[in-house]
């Protein structure tokens, strides 16, 4: 079991309301990702759930029990930190066994559980090494191992892949997703990387200035963003926003169109290519269109246009419409 329910959870640091009041339900077994720009309060929210920060007001229920005032260890949760937070003076074996030792578990059972976790995470041959002798990916696996041996009600991940290089990050992302498939335990994952959020989550919580902007599945957020903030945050490159006369034609204050929903060839918009990036699989171009501004365009394969070319563009997918308050129409 690992259902987490937040009711009017508020957190202030002195005069500053970091989390002005959040209601959220995380179902048992769900993989929930908190995503948002730096300083939006996603890590603070995770730390409130973990018990590493005290709530200013509100209630945090874990499996139906009020855990608001429980210390971290009594909440039945395990956390993986951005910096791995391994104990540098202990071997990998002792690091993984530490929570079991703290729980007063029989040493034979400790060994059994450590061996099982090490085998799941491919760490069996590193058990007698110290964290300093491991690579970044291996360290992160030890941190995950330390979390899984406890068989917690839920895992909390605080930007766990931020310190890894790009290739390793993709690998670890898949490993964490597979781990979730295997364990079927609730996972709450904080990231500022929306690709991580889109690829891993069952449910994404988009945060901005301590408030939830939208909660939904990755594809719901992509196709039906509730407002301009979510529309701009989800999707890479970010959605193009057009105001003025062009938006008025569609009875909106602002219209939004994703870069992958604009085609190059023929169309009503004409402009000059500025930056062009060619990845082989995709092409990314920025086109300066008079009256509309700079439009990001993403096309499959090689688009065959370069800096300085004059091109015509056409919207070829869903057009998102927003009112003057930025809410989707």
């Amino acid at each position: 079991m690992g259902k987490i329910q937040l009711t009017k959870v508020r957190k202030s640091f002195g005069e500053v309301d970091v989390i002005p009041g959040i209601d959220l339900t995380i179902e048992d077994g769900e993989f929930v990702v908190f995503v948002g720009p730096s300083g939006c309060g996603k890590s603070t929210l995770l730390r409130l759930i973990a018990g590493l920060e005290d709530t200013t007001s509100g209630v945090i229920d874990i499996d139906g029990k009020d855990a608001t005032n429980l210390p971290p260890a009594k909440r039945g949760l395990a956390m993986v930190f951005q910096s791995y937070a391994l104990y540098p003076h202990m071997t990998v074996r002792k690091n993984i066994a530490f929570p079991l030792k703290m729980a007063g578990m029989d040493p034979a059972e400790q060994d059994k559980r450590v061996a099982r976790a090490a085998s799941v995470l491919n760490l069996s041959s590193y058990l007698d090494r110290r964290p300093g002798q491991l690579s970044g990916g291996q360290r992160q696996r030890v941190a995950i191992g330390r979390a899984i041996v406890r068989e917690p009600a839920a895992f909390l991940f605080d930007e766990p892949l931020s310190n890894l290089d790009a290739a390793l990050r993709v690998g670890m992302r898949q490993e964490i997703s597979e781990l979730h498939q295997t364990l079927k335990t609730t996972m709450v994952y904080v990231t500022h990387d929306q690709v991580e959020a889109m690829t891993m989550a069952d449910k994404i919580v988009v945060l901005n200035a301590g408030r939830i902007e939208q909660v939904g599945s990755p594809l719901t957020l992509y196709h039906e963003p509730r407002n301009k903030f979510v529309a701009g945050f989800i999707g890479s490159p970010r959605m193009n926003f057009i105001d003025g006369a062009e938006a008025a034609k569609h009875n909106a204050h602002t219209i939004g169109i994703r870069p992958e929903h604009i085609t190059v060839g023929d169309g009503p918009w004409e402009g000059v290519v500025g930056l062009s990036e060619h990845l082989g699989s995709d092409s990314f171009i920025k086109v300066e269109v008079p009256g509309l501004g700079t439009l990001n365009v993403r096309g499959p394969g090689e688009l065959g246009v370069h800096h300085g070319d004059r091109v015509k563009l056409a919207p070829a997918g869903k057009m998102h419409r927003f009112d003057a308050d930025g809410l989707a129409i």
């Binding site: 260890a73 395990a78 930190f81 937070a85 104990y87 540098p88 003076h89 530490f98 729980a103 406890r150």
Partner: protein, 276 residues
């Protein structure tokens, strides 16, 4: 990138370093040389750096005239005892200040340090009377207590600096792993801070070993450590420099050996945090 040094510059730097080192070391050298001179040679005018007649007589006489092993043992008990007791208090205090600081933590630290700015003699009378009332005069436990209290601000400050270097996330991880406060300090913080704790301990032992004001004021015979042993050779009939020097050499020798073997640890400790 390291700067390349010309040979001339290196010779000059080396010479300057040796000169400064010799100036600092000269009083100790003079004391050691004097301890091997006769009393007449020790007070000769003009002073003789090297005596014509070297002798071990001063050491023999100092050893015969006093109970050196008792003074030595008292010094060990007082220096080690006050340091260990101080650590028991300073580790939790520094932990609290480093990891759960309050609004006034910095003020508290400054206040503690400011007590070191007060001359010890200012509280001599009240402490003497307190010790008299409590029956702590001329007891090792009394000196352990007073030296622990005198050095506690330095212990807390040094440990606070070390603890600040330990990432808070590691302690939070321990908390998530179910460690109680005590387990967190015992299994995570202390092993990680061992180099810092060791150098703090060494420095405190040296400070307590060399302390001369309280050890002389609060003891007579039973609990007197080596600092009082040195003072006992400054007799009212006159100063016997050679014997005084021999007594001083005998008093500093143990701590000099300790310092020599632990110099790497001490230098690391004293420069900790200076360069990231």
């Amino acid at each position: 990138m390291a700067r390349a040094q010309s040979p001339r510059r290196m010779i000059l730097t080396t010479l300057a370093a040796w000169t400064v080192a010799l100036i600092i070391f000269f009083p100790v050298l003079w004391m050691i040389l004097t301890s091997f001179k006769t009393e007449a040679s020790a007070v000769a005018s003009p002073p003789e750096l090297f005596s014509a007649s070297w002798t071990f007589e001063n050491y023999v006489e100092v050893w015969a005239r006093s109970d050196y092993p008792r003074f030595f043992w008292n010094s060990v008990v007082i220096a080690v005892g006050s340091t260990l007791l101080g650590l028991v208090i300073a580790i939790p205090a520094a932990w609290a200040m480093a990891f759960v600081p309050g609004k006034r933590t910095k003020d508290l630290l400054m206040w503690m340090l400011s007590t070191k700015m007060m001359p010890a003699v200012a509280v001599m009378v009240p402490i003497y009377l307190l010790f008299l009332q409590l029956g702590l005069l001329d007891t090792r436990i009394g000196l352990v207590l007073v030296l622990m209290l005198m050095n506690l601000p330095i212990l807390i400050w040094m440990l606070y600096t070390y603890f600040k270097e330990i990432p808070g996330e590691i302690l939070e991880a321990a908390r998530m792993d179910g460690a109680s406060l005590w387990n967190e300090i015992l299994y995570v913080l202390t092993p990680m801070a061992i180099p810092g704790i060791a150098s703090t301990m060494l420095l405190n032992i040296i400070l307590a070993w060399n302390e001369a004001f309280w050890t002389i004021v609060l003891t007579t015979t039973k609990a007197a450590p080596l600092s009082a042993f040195i003072a006992s050779f400054s007799a009212p009939q006159g100063l016997f420099y050679a014997k005084l020097s021999a007594a001083s050499a005998m008093a500093i020798l143990p701590i000099l050996i300790l310092g020599w073997f632990s110099q790497k640890q001490l230098v690391r400790g004293l420069t900790f945090g200076a360069v990231k």
